[in-house]
Structures are given as C-alpha cells and as structure tokens.
Symmetry: C2
C-alpha cells in the first residue's frame, strides 16, 4: 500500500517537475503532535512516530528519525522500500545534506510551505539555489493524492480562570509587549499553539491529547489579532477577549494581512516556530527579529497557583497510577490483563478523579520485549497479555484542570532475576541522583544530565533519549526551553538555565532489544534553596506520587544515601495518597512504600 502511494506521489511530483520533495511531520504550527488531517508523513510512509522527516526523490525514499524511534521505524518501514536514516548515528547525514545531495541542476525541490518550518525551508531553499535547482513551496502534493483525508476538528474551546492559570491575559499580554519593546519590535507573529493558548488563557482540543486551538496570534503595542476558524468561537469567548482588546479574524486571513505590513516594520518571530509560508508572506523591507517567542520562557516558569494546582493534579494521577500498579501486580496475570486493557483501566481510574479532562498523550503500555521500543504504542495486533515474570512498562499522563502529568513506572511481575534487578536498581539510582541534586543557579540540564546517567554509564549502559523534557501546564506534554540532556542533536539549542518554577521530567531507562525495557520517570519542579557566599543553590521537588516498584530493587546495590532518598520519597507518596485509599489499598501501599 505504501509503495503504491509513493508511486502515485511520484506521478504528482513529475506533474509539477519536482525532483525532491520533503514531507515533515508537523502541521501549520510546527506542532510536535498533529491532528489526523496533517499526518501526511504517516500517510505516505506508514511510520507513525511523532518525529521524522520523509524525503522522496524520483528513485528513492528516505525517512529520518531519532533514537526514540529507531526500532519502531525499522518495523514499520519494512517492505516499503523506504530507507531509514538513524539521526545522530555516526556517518548519517542531516536531512539538509541529503536533500542537497539529491538535488541536481535544473531539478526542483518541493514542499508544502504551510507545514515546513521557516528555518528549515530557508536552509533547504539555500541548498537548492547552490545546486542550481528550483523551489516549489506552494503545493501540498500529498493532499492531492490523499482521497479520504480526515478533516480538521471543530473542538470545543474553553477559557481558564485565574484560579487555574494564576495570571490573567491582560498581564501576560503586557509582559510579552514589554519584551517586544526591549527587542525593538513593532509587531510579533506567533504560530505556536501552546504559546497562543497560554497567552489567551484558552484551551481547546484540536490535536488529540493536546488542548490547543489551531490559530495564529499577531501582536502590536496596542493591537492583538487572533486568527482562528470563526465557527469554533463562542459569543462568551468573543466578549471576554474583546475586553482584553483582542480582535478575532479568520484563520487563513493572516497570510494576506502579513503581506500588507508596512516596509520598515520590525517583526519579532521565531523562525523555528512559524511555517515558511507565513515567513515568505512578509514583504521586502520588513525586518525580521528572529528570537524565541517571549512567552516560551514565561510559560515554562510555573507560578505559585499553577504549582499548587500541579501538586493536586499529581496527587490525583498518583492515585490512578497506584491503583493500576496494585491491580497489575496483584491480579494482573490471573485477570488476563493486556497492554491495552491495562491502559483502559488506568484511564478509568483517572476518570474517577475530579477535573480529569483527557490523557496527555497516547499511553505507552509495554510488556516484556515491547518495553524496549521507547515509544511503543500497543495496537490490536500487537497487544500482549501480561504474564508472570518480566517487566511491564507504563508511560502515561493526564490533563487535569490543575495541570498536565507525565509518569513512567515499570512494574515487576512475579519473580525477576538478579541481573534484571541490577538494571532496575541502576535506573532508579540515576533517577534519584538527579531528583535530589543540589546545584548552583546557572546550571542547565546540559550539566546535570550526567548525574542521572552515571549509574548506567558505570555499567557501560545508556539510553538513547534525553533524560528529561519540560512539561506544559494543561498544555503540551513536551515543552521548552528547559530539558535535561547532555548531548545536543545538530541544530538543537542548548537547554535553558533552570529557573525556579520550571517543571522537567527525570526519566532514565534501559532498553534491551528483544528482551525488556525499564524506565522510571518523575516530574521535578525546580526551586530555590540555600543562598550563601557561593551563590544561589537550587534544588528539585518531586511532583510525581507513585511508588517505584520495590520488587525490582536490590538494596545492596544502593548507597545509604540513595536508600534514604528512596525511603523519603516513598514516605511522601504514602502520606499524600493514603487518605484517599480504601483500607485494603492503604495496606498494600504501606508495603510498597516500606523503608528499605
């Protein structure tokens, strides 16, 4: 099927004289996850991962993806004729290098300008020019062959009050405008959906598990225009926004509006966060100030109300996760639970909690060897029954009105051998070393990552993904600019300095292909600690409230300090969750949060 689609697509390419065509994974807003309508790369390649770029030439097809998806892509691309390029591995070219190599004089590079980011489009266009090739950026060729393409959803929008957000839209607009002024910008163009949702204190559901609204925002000192499909805006929202002097215009109108910007204007935008069609709409004479969106750093720092809400969200998520853990470990095998039915049960446990809105991403429930596929997603065909022995890895999260969660626990089913316990313990030790680190202000996750990895590196093991990512507040489960990673993929910016209020995950793992996967993930909020003559010390508070399965722990592999950390964490988990548990559940939790 994939081969047929690609053949059909090549006919289209020939029709438009395109010799190389690039299909990225994003929508018009450079989103990481996209709604079904925008899954062109998936449609054409069969690869369902969230990150990956497909490059089609008249003879070849290449998919570029990162370490999280190597195994999955290999499986999904088998038999399609598409060649897998493992990004970051030695000798693997960058997408730009590959495209440039494939372009020939008189050839033509094609892409859909609405979905390819401005930064990458500029790079690729430059490469095309250098090779004497043309560029076609106005045509969505995938759309032309995609017969039953899904539509764009009209999800329900809702406004968030200050008891949820801790800061009104007026204040947020003011702060962004102050930064615009500091940068000397007359205007600011935003396409990133989470920034827009954060500024407007508005949520929707236009992308599965991402509570955002497909829209653009245009700001000046005294004006603000929200470009959105009018059918989804209620009268109440229109009124509320009008109070903040936010005008509403048609979603697609931004393209024509940008073309009419006066020459000499200075426009602040992030080339990596706007699509290239928007960017190329800016008339000559407009100066682009290519900066991070000011709202990116602002929304990463959660305010006191958000933090207090988040603790509540994690208490609820902890109850759900702990109930899943108990069921899986005590009756999972007899009850013939499967990866999918366990996920369903977790969702039910969440639904019992007040203010639960949605899962924050498609859960990863992976038994045995499936756990080694970092971003495994159980399908009807792959769904496995839990069995005695082995690990069951669950990476899942929820959106509550009090915020977004992201937790991973690996449950030990029955007996496990010493070697597996050593691995499980090392992952736990890495997790604790980061969570309990004290560090001087000024550190970013680039410097701290090694604390988490060292227990694995000692054993000559590693995990091929970052240690942690920022988490949005009732927003994207992956959010910048904070992250914990020592290695920067080419072109990726260094993680931001950790500020008090930033929430980042801490998720080391071990993945043995064909055998099992272990990952333990907590969310950490950065806080100020002691301040003395050496500077401002910072530390973390663990938000996640779910036991780390003691059946996988070898206490003798841990130092006294590490055991004390784990015991302190478990004591807090017990204290936080116990009041809402049944007596039976409480007795079980006491056992699984016991001191070691």
């Amino acid at each position: 099927m994939i081969q047929e689609r690609i053949e059909k697509f090549r006919q289209k390419m020939k029709e438009y004289q395109a010799t190389v065509y690039v299909v990225p994974s994003s929508d018009c807003h450079e989103s990481e996850y996209v709604c079904a309508h925008y899954r062109a790369r998936e449609y054409l390649s069969g690869f369902t991962g969230s990150a990956g770029t497909l490059v089609i030439t008249l003879e070849e097809a290449a998919l570029f993806t990162d370490g999280r998806y190597f195994l999955q892509a290999e499986q999904q691309l088998a038999g399609t004729g598409i060649c897998l390029f493992r990004m970051g591995e030695p000798g693997v070219p960058k997408v730009e290098t590959y495209v440039k190599e494939k372009l020939t004089e008189g050839g033509k590079l094609g892409f859909d300008g609405r979905v390819l980011g401005a930064f990458q489009a500029e790079e690729l266009s430059r490469a095309a020019k250098e090779k004497g090739a043309g560029v076609l950026m106005t045509e969505d060729l995938v759309g032309q062959i995609w017969a039953d393409r899904p539509g764009i959803p009209d999800s329900v929008l809702y406004l968030l009050g200050e008891h949820v957000t801790g800061e009104g839209t007026g204040s947020k607009l003011k702060r962004v405008r102050r930064r615009m002024e500091e940068e000397g910008a007359d205007a600011h163009v935003l396409a990133s959906l989470d920034d827009i949702a954060w500024i407007l204190n508005l949520r929707g559901g236009d992308i599965p598990h991402v509570p955002v609204v497909l829209s653009y925002l245009y700001m000046e000192k005294d004006a603000c225009i929200w470009y959105v499909r009018s059918q989804v805006v209620t009268e109440e929202i229109r009124e509320k926004l009008s109070e903040k002097k936010v005008q509403i215009r048609a979603y697609e109108a931004i393209y024509e509006d940008l073309k009419r910007l006066p020459g000499g204007s200075k426009v602040l935008l992030d080339k990596k966060k706007v699509n290239s069609r928007l960017y190329f709409c800016l008339p000559e004479g407009v100066e682009v100030l290519d900066r991070k969106n000011p709202s990116e750093a602002m929304k990463a720092v959660k305010n006191e109300i958000e933090l207090s809400n988040l603790r509540e969200a994690h208490r609820k998520e902890g109850l759900a996760f702990t109930r899943l853990m108990r069921r899986v470990k005590t009756h999972g095998v007899e009850e013939e639970l499967t990866e999918r039915s366990a996920a369903e049960y977790l969702r039910q446990c969440r639904e019992e909690q007040e203010h639960y809105l949605d899962d924050s991403f498609a859960p990863i429930c992976a038994y045995g060897e499936h756990g080694a596929v970092v971003h495994y997603s159980a399908t009807k065909e792959s769904d496995r029954r839990l069995e005695k022995g082995g690990f069951f890895l669950v990476d899942a999260g929820g959106h509550y009105l009090e915020g977004t969660t992201d937790t991973t626990r690996t449950f030990v089913l029955g007996e496990t051998d010493e070697e597996q316990k050593r691995m499980f313990t090392a992952v736990c030790r890495g997790n604790l070393h980061l969570a309990y680190a004290r560090f001087l202000y000024g550190c970013s996750g680039c410097q701290l990552d090694v604390l988490c990895r060292e227990p694995l590196w000692e054993m000559a093991m590693d995990y091929r993904h970052g240690t942690g990512h920022g988490v949005g507040y009732l927003l994207n489960v992956h959010e910048g600019p904070n992250a914990i990673r020592w290695k920067l993929p080419e072109g990726r910016e260094s993680p931001a300095v950790l500020e008090a209020g930033m929430v980042t995950t801490d998720e080391p793992g071990i993945y043995l292909e064909g055998k099992y996967g272990i990952r333990t993930e907590n969310e950490l909020v950065c806080k100020t600690g002691v301040k003395n003559e050496y500077g401002q010390f910072m530390e973390f508070e663990i938000l996640t409230m779910t036991p780390i399965d003691l059946d996988g722990i070898l206490p003798k592999e841990m130092t006294r300090q590490e055991r004390a950390w784990l015991n302190a964490y478990h004591a807090k988990v017990y204290k936080t969750l116990a009041p809402d548990l049944s007596e039976e559940e409480r007795a079980w939790l006491r056992e699984y949060t016991r001191e070691i």
Copy 2:
C-alpha cells in the same frame, strides 16, 4: 608608590591625549605567565596575580580579575586607590563595557598593541568608534615611565628528540599544513609560544617556569619562517631546523613581513592568540580565517611515547611529593618548617630525580588561613611556620624531560576536628567521582564537572574556580582546549570534547576565608574504554602518584564504592613508589596507603 606611578602614568596619558588606557597581563604572545620585562600591569598596580586587566582613566583606576584572585587582589590593592572588579560576580561589568562607559566623544583609548590581543583590541576599538573616541595603539606608555625595567632573557634553547616527543617536526608541520589546506588557508601566523615549541620540538626558558622561546612562526604550504632573536639560536639548532626547511629571521621582522603579504591571501590565525599589532599589520585585501591554531588540538592529545614518559615523570614527582608529605607530617612542626622552607625541600627532592629541569610554576605552599587564598604565594614577609593542627596545602609541579606535572595535596598536621574532616572527605569524594567516571565519547568537561562538585554542592559549598585544566607536555602547565568546568566566564569557549590522550587536572577544593583551604589535585589522562551498541565509552587513568592524607578522611562519610576507589588508588601509589623508597619510607607509605 603605586599611587605615584599611576600619577606619573597619567601625565604620560595626557601627553598623548589618551583618556582611557588598558594594561593587560600578557606579553606579545598572549601568554598567561610572562617574564619580568612584560609585567607592566603588576608594575603599575602592585597586583601580582597571573590574570587581570588594569584600566586607567584620568580620574579612576580599575583592576578586573577572576575568582581565583579576589582575596589576593583585595589585599594587594589596599591603599592604592585602584578599584577591584570581581569578574563573574553579579552586576560586575565586563572590561569592554567599563572601557566603553569611560570613553567620551573626542576622548582617546590607548593600549600597547604588541601586548593586547587582536580579538580584544578589535572589540575595544569598535567601542571607541561607537563613542566617537580615537584609538592610540602604537605606544607602550608604561615602558616610558618604567625606569629600571628588566630586560628580556637570553635563555638556552634545546631540541627534543623523538624519544621525548614521540613525533618529529616534519610530521607535525605536515599535519598542520593538512589542516591549513582543509581550511583553504595560504598562510598561517602563530604567536603562541607553546604551539611554536610543540611544532618545532624546541624548548627554552624565556618565561619563568615556562620552557618556551619568545618567537613567532609563519607557515605556508612550502615555507616556514621562525622569527626569533638570533643571539639565542645555536648552530646546531639552525642546522636541524634547516633540514626541516624552517628558515630563521629576526624576531621583530615579522611585522614588516606581514605588511607585504599579497592581497587575496587567506591567512589562518587565532585572533585570541595573536597580538593586535600583528593583526593590524595585515594589509587590506588579506582574508583572515579566524580559527583555533590547528596545533592546539594536536598537542593536547598526548601520543603513546609522551604518555609513557608522563607516567615516569609522575613517578618521580610522586617520590618527591611523598617525601615532602612524610617530612611535613612526621617532623615538620619540630623542625620548624615554614611554607618557604617546605617548598625548598620539595624542590630538593625533585632535584634528586633524573631529568628534572624546573618547577612548572611557582609553588603554592600555604599553611592555615593562607590556604584559603587560591593562588597564594608565600613571600618573605608572609612566610608562616607550620604548627600542630590545621591544614598545609601544597600545589606544585615540575618539568622533567618526561613531561610536566601539577599536583595538589593538603596535609593534616596533628589533630583536626570532625567538621574539618568532613570538608576534607567531601573534597576527596569529588576528586574520586570525576577520576573514576565512565562516560560516553562526546562529553566535554562542561558536562562532567558536576560529578566533582556534587559532594560539595550537597553541603552548600563550592569552589570559585574550574575543576580542571589541560596540562602541556614539558610546556604550559595550563593548556587548552580541554578543561573541566561547568560555568563559562563570558567570552570563554566551551571546553573541547575529551579525546583519548588528553591530560586534564581534577582539583576540587574548599576555601574558608580566614580559616583554611583544602584542595586535592590529580592529573587524569583520558582513555578509550568499552565500545558497545551505546557508543564508545571513555575513562580516566590517574597519573599523579601521591597519597591523599588519610588523617583527613572520615571513612563513614564515604560509600563503599568511594572507599574502594581510594583504596585502589592508594594501592597503585604504593606499588609505583615503593621500589625507590628506603625501608623506613616504605613502612611509612604503607601506613598512609592502607585500606580504609
């Protein structure tokens, strides 16, 4: 005296209409340490530290230095009227910012173009232009008031054979030329003395404790000119270099030669490693390729012969240090040893070793509160007698024909209290965590630094200096591009990725002003370890061979792993040193390398 000099200097400034004058600490080669002739900054300010920039205006005088020298500068500047600027502290401006602020329209910025680096001179000249001020870069105004200025030494030069360097000059020239070709350079200008000494396999002694020769090197594809004061070159050296097609010309002739370079030539040079006069000699039309000197990365990676020699150098240094340790700890107090006489004894112990050439830097022997001055240097006046109780910190190194060493040990004299032992133990733990780290290839010292600091950060302590620096091979004791540091002072480049063969120090410390200082420094050589599906793992070998004083160690504060590391290290120290010790010394060493 300082005030008088500054007043006299201001008269000179007025004579030349200079309103702001910058006096850096370097010589014509941007050296870190300089010979007496070039100590203009010290002459004018009284501050003797190795790093610091003096800025004089007609009304004010400001000295900028870094954290290593805060205490010392404070003491030495007292009463001079010079204001101390603590670089890197919050709110302290950069030199460039300060200079710019002080310049006014119609004013004039002055500096000696021979000693101010090209990069900084360009930045400062730009600032002057922006403020509408002129620039005077041809006059050495300090020289004009410096009556009894010392001359430039005529030290003895010597060539090193391949049994010392492991690689001949021909091969080194070839490697550098290959890099020139890759960069598309027609010519390459080198002013950095260690690069030149490394390429030519030549050593001298033009700077105290730095075995280099004041000279410049100019390279083309087929030509190489060494600009050096002809009186120091022997016939033998002339012949040997001529075999490698290296011509010799007068030291100062390079300035006129550069002026005659043909337009259109591409010249590779490192703006941070050539003085501004050289740089501004390049005629219009010459294209500068501002790159690191290719030899910098090459000489940082020690070859197998150098490494095997280095092990021998460290064995010798270990014997000397261990003898000092034994004497200090067993008889130091009764014998009324002082900071200076202990340093002298260490030198004697070194001199007993074959192939000892010189100290690699002025030793830091600091008893009690002197230890808190990171770069303390005992003078006749400050010299203190060792007493029972307290710490004696010795940071010293030697040049041997087999390489350069740099060691710090802190000796416990008599009884010390629990709190002091906790501090001593934390420093030792930090040191061990770095030394025994295993890490994936691709890490630099920026990511690893935290391993060393974490035991101190846990206690809300820190040290205000990098964790480690590269060490030259019979060359500069501070050498790039490798280093261990998490925090980058503004404008400083990130440490290089650690390559097998790089030698870096590992020197955490604790400094309590007015009380004591503790530092434990080993040199580490980076080596390749296991290679598996996760990548190439790297590890360190400890070169330094001297006990870490067990009288300061609290075993209960250490993990089993940490004790095992320390025991393994001490076992190796004993095994390495024992064969050359007397029976009495050996018995003592056995005690001080015992298992804990």
